[in-house]
């Protein structure tokens, strides 16, 4: 038993490393993305992506806020997140009108402090009064909804001057994107700390954590403070989006954020959740809206949208029933590898939808699709010269194919390295690298050059 060779040791170890809860959000994300791009190629322009980022960022940050507190367990689903965003929004507008908040730094500090303070009170009630978190958050929801209307009875007011242009969404690189990236990076950094380990252990089994000496009171308060900071950032992005104050609009974020959280594969019982899944969940919701907006439902548009949210949420929860089955066969599911594999497929679809075939030559009406693929496959066998447009297409596709192959090879290599190593913490680094690749692509779009893997349509 003791003298096992190393090779068999690796395979005979008990237990699986990761769970496949990201399977659903990733699948849904790429399915919706492909559909959205086919319906409306405009999404893949600098302005289209810019607008998408502006709209989706408040929701993503609100989902982060929910995630941070729901990881801490006890079924903490903060229903008051929407009114809280509204609260920060209306107070910000009123204070700004009173001439108190001028400096951007002060505005940021105020928003995060207001969110954190509210969450601190929330946490103290949960810990010391021992009320169910859902009850506390429901009371908060009702109270804040009323307070918001008292502070600002009807929509109006002006956002601080420095964020006047933030909400235009004409380019990808807006300050909103920077806020989102900094918030995401901050969470990823946070996951490397002991505090995060404590948080997850406590969320997964509070009694186990308590009896092993984890300071659960402090950890729970900390989780709520982080949640409050995310809520403050969400409120700032929301203010930038609407450029004014609105006492009731923020309330809608409650339902959206809870839906996004569940769609992102987080466990409402605690202990499981992350920025990757939460962001995907929020983006999925946005993409559903986007896809539906390409159809014209007339007056019932918003009902159809809500119907779609509900249906997709239920379907994705039903499909998570399959996860134990999947877990039985795939011990170490890699969400990252799955993501990259689907990304390559969807990149192909995006290229197909947005590629300016006319730019290849004077022959405008080229038949794209399966036929093109066949030509591409059989042409190496033909001795005759290829037509100029095929040659041009091939020249244009060469770097793309190379890029895709490189991407997959890199991902597989990283996956193997990760699987074989005794370290568990490479994953955040990989996510950062992936994010930088995407950024590079987006930058390329903006510069108007032909990037290796994303092609812009005029």
């Amino acid at each position: 038993m003791t003298a096992l060779p190393m090779a068999t040791l690796q395979s005979e170890q008990r237990g699986g490393r990761s769970n496949p809860y990201l399977l659903m959000p990733i699948t849904l994300f790429f399915a919706l993305l492909a559909f959205a791009v086919l319906r409306s190629p405009n999404l893949m322009t600098s302005a289209g992506l810019g607008a998408a980022i502006i709209v989706v960022t408040p929701l993503i940050l609100a989902t982060y806020a929910l995630m941070a507190s729901s990881i801490s367990g006890r079924g903490t689903v903060d229903l008051s997140i929407g009114p809280l965003i509204g609260f920060v929004n209306v107070t910000l507008i009123q204070l700004q009108a009173a001439g108190v908040l001028e400096n951007p730094i002060v505005v940021f500090l105020y928003a995060m402090a207001a969110g954190a303070l509210y969450q601190l009170i929330f946490a103290l009630i949960v810990i010391f009064v021992r009320v169910q978190p859902i009850i506390v958050s429901l009371s908060g929801y009702l109270a804040l909804t009323g307070i918001n209307l008292v502070i600002l009875p009807r929509p109006g007011g002006m956002a601080p001057a420095f964020m006047a242009e933030w909400g235009y969404g004409t380019s990808i690189f807006s300050p909103i994107l920077v806020i989102l990236l900094i918030a995401t990076a901050a969470w990823l950094l946070f996951t490397t700390t002991a505090f995060y380990t404590h948080l997850r252990l406590m969320g997964s089994d509070e009694r186990a954590a308590y009896t092993s000496g984890v300071p659960i009171t402090t950890v729970r308060i900390g989780a709520h403070l982080i949640s409050g900071c995310f809520a403050g950032l969400a409120a700032i992005c929301f203010t930038a989006l609407i450029s004014s104050g609105d006492p009731s609009q923020g309330t809608t974020y409650t339902l959206l954020a809870v839906t996004a959280l569940v769609l992102g594969g987080a466990s409402l019982a605690g202990g499981r959740g992350g920025v990757f899944g939460s962001a995907l969940g929020a983006i999925n919701l946005y993409l559903i809206t986007f896809c539906l907006s390409t159809f014209n439902f007339g007056a019932v548009q918003s009902f159809v949208t809500n119907l779609a949210y509900g249906t997709i949420l239920v379907l994705s929860l039903l499909l998570t029933l399959l996860i134990p089955v999947i877990q039985r066969y795939i011990r170490n599911f890699s969400p990252l590898l799955y993501f990259v594999a689907l990304a390559v497929v969807v990149l192909g679809i995006i290229l197909h939808a947005t590629f300016d075939y006319a730019a290849l030559g004077e022959v405008g009406a080229m038949l794209p699709g399966p036929l093109q693929m066949q030509v591409a496959l059989t042409s190496p066998l033909e001795i005759g010269a290829v037509s100029p447009e095929t040659a041009a297409l091939r020249a244009a596709a060469g770097p793309l194919v190379l890029g895709a192959v490189l991407l997959i090879v890199t991902a597989v290599f990283l996956r193997l390295a990760f699987g074989q190593s005794d370290r568990a913490k490479i994953a955040p680094a990989i996510v950062v690298v992936m994010a930088m690749l995407v950024l590079a692509g987006a930058w390329g779009i903006r510069q108007g050059v032909t990037p290796p893997h994303v092609e812009a349509a005029p």
């Binding site: 997850r200 092993s212 000496g213 877990q327 005794d422 370290r423």
Partner: protein
Amino acid sequence: MTTARETPVSAVRETVQVRSVKKYFGPTRALDGASFSARAGEIHSIVGGNGCGKSTLAKVISGILPVDTGSVSILGEAPSTPAESRALGISTVYQEVLVADESSVADNIFMGADRLFTKTLSGERRVARAAALMTELAGEPVDPHALVGTLPLGLKQWITIARALVAEPKILILDESSAALDYDSTERLFTKMRALRDGGTTVLVVTHRIAELIRISDRATVLRDGRDVGVLEKADINERNLLALMTGEDRGQGHGTLAAPQPRGTDRAMKARGLVFWPGATPFDFDLRRGEIVGVAGLDGQGQDAFVRVLAGVAPAERGMVQVADRDGTWSFVRTLREAVRGRIAYVSGDRKREGIFASLSIFENMVMPLYREKKRAGILAIIDTPTLGATFKREAENLMIKFGVKEDRITSLSGGNQQKVLIGRGFAMRPDVIVLNDPARGIDVGAKTELYKQLRSFAEEGRSVVYMSSELEEFIDFASRVVVFRDGRPFDAFDGRGLRPKQVLDAMFGQTDGSGLTAVHGLRPRADDREVRSLAGDGVRVTVEVPKALRERLNSASAPSQTLRERLVPVAEIGVRLQPKAIRIVEFDAEGRKHEGQQR
């Protein structure tokens, strides 16, 4: 026992001192002036019946329960939170398997070892340490990055023990920690405990398992009704002394003088054909006779657990079928729990948290709930018949000697052992023909066990059957009619309950016997032989039945499935008196009363 050493009393210091501590939970008196002391470098057991306060005492020492009155001094201090006691060098492994399922093995092992924001050990070293420790303890490599939720219960238990060990404790408290471990693992745990003891650690063991306790302890403190009633030194620790102190009377040999019940006939209550629990295992048959108690044993995860669950209809088998006979001898299938209940099979699980109690309901409701439908009143209105059920409840509670305040109290107000008794009472209350018990004695004290055996024995003597799975071999002695040992998902060997020696069963569990018990007299057969000649040895009469070829073919064509033909009866255990083998002649009389000898018998 050989490695245990006598501790010189004078040379060691007292690390734990508890003086006349009282602790009340509402009206329940958990500790009533208990005193306790332990020294450095000894393995000290805390023993007692259910609800005697030994778990409470362990929690008081580990610092998670504040005391009402009395003084607690552990290493000169009185910790009041787990964090403080951890800082003092106290590690506790609790009765419940407390692990965070969503986190990795390494994180679980080092739970509580970090300060709030900084780690005490770098990631790689922590992972390496976790892997080494788990390999040493569990005896098999465990991926330190694996999510704990994907591991079996036995390994989760090891994680909690490993967590206690990485803190390098001065005082280690093990509260029923070997409950989820099999025999082999328990041995490894003992080795580890002795090593710690020799290093000067105080090891406190709270346990019900008397046999283990006798082997491992240097001293034992016996509790009864919240008080300490005696401290036994190494030489005095034996079953007789312990029982005498625990029950407050000299009970002598306990159930040792009784004989295991024997079935009176070959009448069967259940039969299973071609059972397979997981792909690739060998199919086997099983017969359960009326009036017998079948003990089921095996190492962790060898299929014995699956076997009792399949018999009770709790879990489906991979292949094969289980049938149960009603009183008229009609067979019906058992595939689901509903069919099992209809076939009067009761299932009692030892895992009361997951498969037993309704935590938010009362003791009364927990026991008689399955009878609501049966004993309803006013026809379709189905009003609960409280008086009848009350009588049932009273009878079962008295039979099993359940200690409770008011029957409307929540079941969680009872101690673990009493909760288990309520569940067993629920099983009996359904008046089943077959009762299937899955390690029911987990967390039950000796007195209650004796009572349980008595109940089960009289149950079997009424002509009903018991299937009893246990991880403690001593439980089978003079109790089980036969013992079936599982290995690799099938019966590996079987033993007659009379003259059973635990050593044999242990050998079989580790695959050291030849498996001859299966084919001999115990009615468990691996598949594959299709002899048409059946011989059964029963009641000293040897009978050989040979079916004529013509008749056989007619039978074959008449009854389509060969299943019925291949049926074989269970051989009954051989009895000493042997009669001459007899041949039976088939004699027919025709209409005129003339005798026709059967064909060539």
